[in-house]
Amino acid sequence: MIKRVVDFFGEERYASQRRRLFYLALVLIVIADFLVPREHTEYLWDRLPGWSAVYGFVSCVLLIFVSKFLGHQGGLMRREDYYD
């Protein structure tokens, strides 16, 4: 059972199936976010349905590119023999 589940995420032949499931999940999450009751709202973004999706995506992209920028242009990444 475990092997079949893991294979589903690894094998190339399931790629399109995986993609369709993933996008379906994204759509369902956003729809659900519009439907859930929001009784306790402290901040502006708590009242915005779909906010978390946007924020998650933006965070991810920011983290990737800001970090890589710091690594390459900021000089944080060095050759492996730097300390030798």
Binding site: V36, L76, Y82
Partner: protein, 585 residues
């Protein structure tokens, strides 16, 4: 004393017989001690034990309350899991070091005064350093020495702070700090160093990936979390901690993007996750301290699971760099599945442990009207899933198939991982038992509709970003500069002066030992051998064997192999603890 068995003594004294037991019995014994430790923690009654006087100062060996019990509980569980993971080891050294390490962490958690705390604090540093040295090889030994150097320095700072603080307040009792003074700032610095708060974080990400496969699992759990405990005890509500914690949550995530070594990536995520705890302690409300404590509990379990997963890959393939790994899912499906449970738990997916603990910290920040902290910690959550849930498993288990010869790790490793995984899910599904352990009453419901959809939105759209920009994340064959640069490069200048006299001294010492000490030891060993040959009956045979072994051990003292010296230190530590125990009685 009968009503209270100190679990620290149980582990430290329990380490003594390990080298003398033969393998099948040793394995049973190794599992038995953590079980007894867990029993001791679960059955202990709140109160103060072992109050005495030392050099005219009040000493309190053990103070048991809710805060110390919750940390001790997870430490005992972790000791059991880590021991099972290491059961296949044939040499006893690492088991001894791990037990002393666990025991001293428990000693810190129950310490009622600063002197007891300091004693166990130092033992912790030496015992854990052994787990790095035991890996052997130039890199590990270098990292081990840097690890020791940093912790010894931190220990001196802590001791200085303790003395100043004791002088100004007239008491060494370990209680919440009232007013900040020079002494308390030094104590805080010592604690922050062990919590790996930047810029004092580099010892962790430097040493943990160089430790042994099984040693790193222990290290991921104890040092930083004892630091979280002492911060929660002494410095709740310190504003500085809110900002340090928030910054370090993002700091670890940024470095994780750049990292190529699988365990170093996970080590940067320890920095990030401890950031949540430090921030929670800084906020200092009941809910925030509850959040920090419960997050430490959950963190120890899922982080050890992740380290066990990465360790299994290293154990099987001998490789540690993401650029050299890939395609292992076919041969290690169980490892993949168990690792992913840890990844879902650290990412705070609903029904996994991180969901019910991390959200408590973020909610506490929200209730305390700290919008910026909420946003920064939420962003760090996205980064957590991006690396431990997506990048690391993708490049380690899936991705390019490197055609590596791999298989599942030994059964004991899988069992240990399964234990941690089961707890990660159990806490996520049934958070109430954990909430009941927390220092304050819990008024928090993690499973509300909006919280679930919000978390899933953050996580799944992080996954979307990962898929779209996968190529930008490809690991690169580099190392990243961190604050260890200052002492690794700075030490060069110092070494240039020191090298020559030190080398000369070393030469003189080894000459002396070769001409004087070695022949003596050799003779002793030969004498042992002769006795062995002459005496034939069983009883005498046993004695002779032990003399022979003693001779061999003595000879080994002269090898210059650093692990042996480290082991000697640990033996000394055990002896000191025995003396302490006797004196206490």
């Amino acid at each position: 004393m009968i009503d209270f068995a100190h679990p620290a003594l149980l582990f430290v004294l329990g380490a003594v017989p390990i080298p003398f037991l033969k393998v099948p019995i040793r394995r049973i014994y190794l599992v038995l001690v953590p079980l007894l430790g867990l029993l001791a923690v679960v059955t202990m009654q709140p109160g103060s034990y072992g109050a005495t006087q030392f050099l005219g100062q009040d000493i309190l060996i053990a103070r048991v309350d809710k805060l110390s019990i919750v940390f001790a509980t997870v430490f005992a569980i972790m000791a059991l899991i880590g021991t099972v993971y290491a059961l296949h080891l044939s040499h006893p050294g690492q088991h001894v070091a791990a037990f002393v390490y666990v025991g001293s962490s428990l000693g810190v958690v129950f310490a009622g005064d600063y002197l007891t705390l300091y004693l166990f604090w130092e033992i912790m540093a030496f015992a854990s350093a052994y787990l790095v040295f035991a890996q052997g090889g130039q890199r590990a030994i270098g990292a081990g020495f840097r690890y020791l150097m940093v912790h010894v320095t931190g220990g001196v700072v802590l001791l200085g702070g303790i003395i100043l603080h004791g002088h100004s307040t007239g008491s060494f009792l370990f209680v919440p700090i009232g007013e900040m003074g020079p002494g308390t700032y030094l104590i805080l610095a010592g604690f922050l160093l062990n919590a790996a708060v930047p810029p004092l974080n580099a010892w962790l990400t430097d040493a943990y990936p160089e430790a042994t496969v099984t040693g790193a699992v222990f290290m991921s759990a104890f040092t930083t979390k004892t630091a979280v405990y002492v911060l929660a005890r002494a410095f709740p509500g310190t504003e500085l901690l809110v900002w340090l914690g928030t910054a370090m949550a993002l700091y670890g995530v940024v470095y994780a993007v750049l990292e190529n070594d699988c365990r170093r990536l996970l080590a940067y995520h320890i920095v990030s996750q401890v950031g949540y705890m430090v921030a929670g302690i800084g906020i200092g409300t009941e809910m925030a301290v509850n959040g920090a404590t419960s997050h430490a509990f959950a963190h120890i379990l899922y982080k050890s699971l992740l380290f066990m997963g990465a360790g299994a890959v290293i154990y099987v393939t001998g490789r540690r760099k993401l650029t050299e790994l890939g395609g292992l899912y076919k041969s290690m499906p169980v490892t993949v599945a168990l690792y992913m449970i840890g990844a879902f738990a650290i990412s705070a997916f609903p029904f996994f442990s991180g969901f019910v603990t991390k959200s408590m910290v973020i909610a506490a920040a929200g209730e305390d009207h700290r919008a910026l902290v909420v946003l920064a910690l939420t962003m760090a959550s996205s980064g957590t899933f991006l690396h431990t849930g997506l990048k690391l498993p993708y490049y380690m288990f899936f991705g390019t198939d490197r055609k590596l010869q791999a298989r599942e790790p030994p059964a004991n490793m899988l069992v240990a991982m399964a234990m941690a995984a089961a707890l990660c899910i159990a806490i996520g599904v049934f958070p109430q038992p954990l909430y009941a352990l927390l220092p304050y009453p819990v008024d928090f419901e993690p499973y509300t509709g909006s919280h679930v959809t919000e978390s899933l939105g953050i996580l799944m759209f992080t996954a979307l970003g990962f898929i779209l920009f996968l190529r930008a994340l490809d690991p690169e064959n580099t190392i990243s500069l961190d604050t260890d640069w200052f002492y690794r490069k700075g030490a060069r200048a110092f070494m240039w002066f020191a090298e020559k006299p030190v080398a000369r001294y070393e030469q003189a010492v080894s000459n002396a030992s070769e001409t004087a000490a070695l022949p003596l030891l050799n003779r002793a060993a030969r004498a042992g051998l002769r006795i062995d040959v002459v005496a034939v009956d069983g009883a005498v045979n046993g004695v002779a064997h032990s003399i022979l072994r003693g001779g061999g051990a003595l000879r080994r003292l002269q090898t210059g192999v650093v692990t042996h010296y480290a082991l000697a230190m640990i033996v000394g530590v055990i002896a000191a603890t025995v003396i302490l125990a006797v004196a206490w009685r």
